[in-house]
Subunit: 275 residues, 2 copies
DNA sequence: GCTTGACCCTCACGGTGCGTGAGGCAGGAG
DNA sequence: CTCCTGCCTCACGCACCGTGAGGGTCAAGC
């Protein structure tokens, strides 16, 4: 904090000039800024004391004040210099250019704010679609409450974060593509079970790989995580109902082909953890 | 411009990883950014070739992609690092904080834009008051067209610029104070002429000084400029009518006291120029 | 094997407008 | 003579890379 006006030097009326501290107090800028403007030659004091103190005369203060005014509307020091020193400078033109730049920056920031809104929504709700869109994409038996429940359960996991980040950049068409892929996979799964594909067979392992690829739309799935998922699908009533609705026993069969594939990759499915 | 995919290295499917150029093309960021993120440890490639080439694996790309997403909403690299590395980080909280910051910056830019509007108006119109305000402040015989005429005449001079800059930061009350000062000065001028004050007398010289001070509200006035002004007030029909309306012959008398004061300061009023 | 061209590497400066010390005079008060 | 405040001059730091400089690497074509 600058003390404006020491008892022995009343700072006002000293005809020879003001020191940096006095000038800074009067102009509402920092001493460092005055030093800087002096360094770059934008506003140098006309006088110095014998000891080297800067002394700003009335004319200097005049110029400083103009600098402050233009700085307040966001002009860069270079342009201020041009405006002050070049008597042919097009001041209104420079101001208008600046205003255009500012408008542009505002627009960018607004888009950025929109993006942030989407990200926040994605993290908090998990799905950015309207209820109608959700019904159209996920089918009529879709429960719009699913995302909220999922957030309740998984909101603090790294996987939820990745899911949320991706959701933020997905529109309805992309969701449609994903559900199509999932539906296609579910169908293939049921067909394979019907066809008598056995766990551990190349066909079954290929399906397991396909599942990981499809699932990667939500977040990357390690084999270990896939094992856990397979067991959850079998154990969780909701998920089990979904798979058993496709073919009776499909949830269990899926768990079996995942386990077999994991074993083939050196993972013990009975000790696999979510990582 | 990066060529994505040279004929001999199809850039897709190389299981061991992508080079910087390939990764940059895929992510839409520059190679330099990848280098930078590596330097600061935000995203380092898991692999290097024997020659030292960076190789980004699928997992690396995963992380890079998350970085890009968060960078697009304006998060700083430090905060991105926190969001990615600190599993206890409050992501929605960070996003909301960012949104608040963005809103703040938008607000500042809006005010800045308003300031620019005022400045532009000041440079182009000279007066920022409504016609009613002008009438209230300058009196009923004020011609609202004065500012436009003045800009026609003086718009390209340094003095007009200073006038415009100051106008931009003046409200109605300040204009009122200025017109009050001017009116007070005009009255004192008439009284002095009535009282028989003679050009060159201390009283007359004091009035000349007071005129310079009062006039400084518009722009700083040198003594030379004041001489020119005195002659213009006498010669210009509009200005002459104003002063002679106060006291007959006041325009001429004012020119005389200015001339005398100038002579006392070593200026020849007959060769004085506007500088 | 040599050239060519496209990539890749590691420094390292620069830009914007000062903030923030560090170390040391200058000048008045007690 | 000491103390305190204000002033001085360096000089680094910041956020995020852009932009060379100077020099290897890799695959292809001759």
């Amino acid at each position: 904090m600058q003390q404006s006006g020491s008892p022995h030097r009343p700072d006002a009326g000293d005809a020879d000039g003001l020191t940096v501290g006095q000038a800074s107090a009067r102009l509402g800028v920092t001493v460092r800024a005055l030093h800087h403007w002096d360094e770059i030659g934008l506003a140098r004091p006309s006088l110095r004391t014998a000891a080297g103190y800067r002394l700003y005369t009335a004319g200097d203060l005049e110029r400083l004040h103009r600098i402050v005014v233009y700085r307040e509307v966001g002009l860069g020091l270079d342009r201020i210099r041009a405006v002050l020193d070049d008597s042919t400078a097009d001041v209104p033109g420079a101001l208008r250019a600046q205003r255009a730049q500012v408008a542009e920056r505002i627009e960018r920031l607004r888009q950025l704010s929109d993006g942030l809104d989407r990200m926040i929504d994605a993290h908090e709700r998990g799905l950015l679609l309207t209820v109608e869109q959700q019904a159209a994409i996920f089918g009529p038996q879709w429960d719009p409450d699913w995302a909220a429940q999922a957030r309740q359960r998984y909101g603090d996991t790294a996987q939820w974060r990745q899911y949320a980040e991706r959701s933020a950049s997905r529109g309805p068409e992309e969701w449609q593509a994903i559900t199509d892929a999932v539906a296609g996979f579910d169908g293939a799964l049921g067909d394979a079970m019907d066809a008598g594909v056995t766990p551990g067979s190349p066909e079954a392992n290929q399906l397991v790989e396909r599942h990981r690829e499809v699932f990667a739309s939500y977040f990357p799935l390690t084999r270990q995580m896939q094992v856990c998922l397979g067991r959850m699908f079998e154990a969780d009533p909701g998920f089990a109902a979904h798979y058993d609705g496709i073919r009776t026993g499909l949830a269990t069969w899926f768990r079996q082909i995942v386990d077999a594939s994991a074993r083939a990759h050196g993972i013990d499915p009975d000790t696999a953890t979510w990582q």
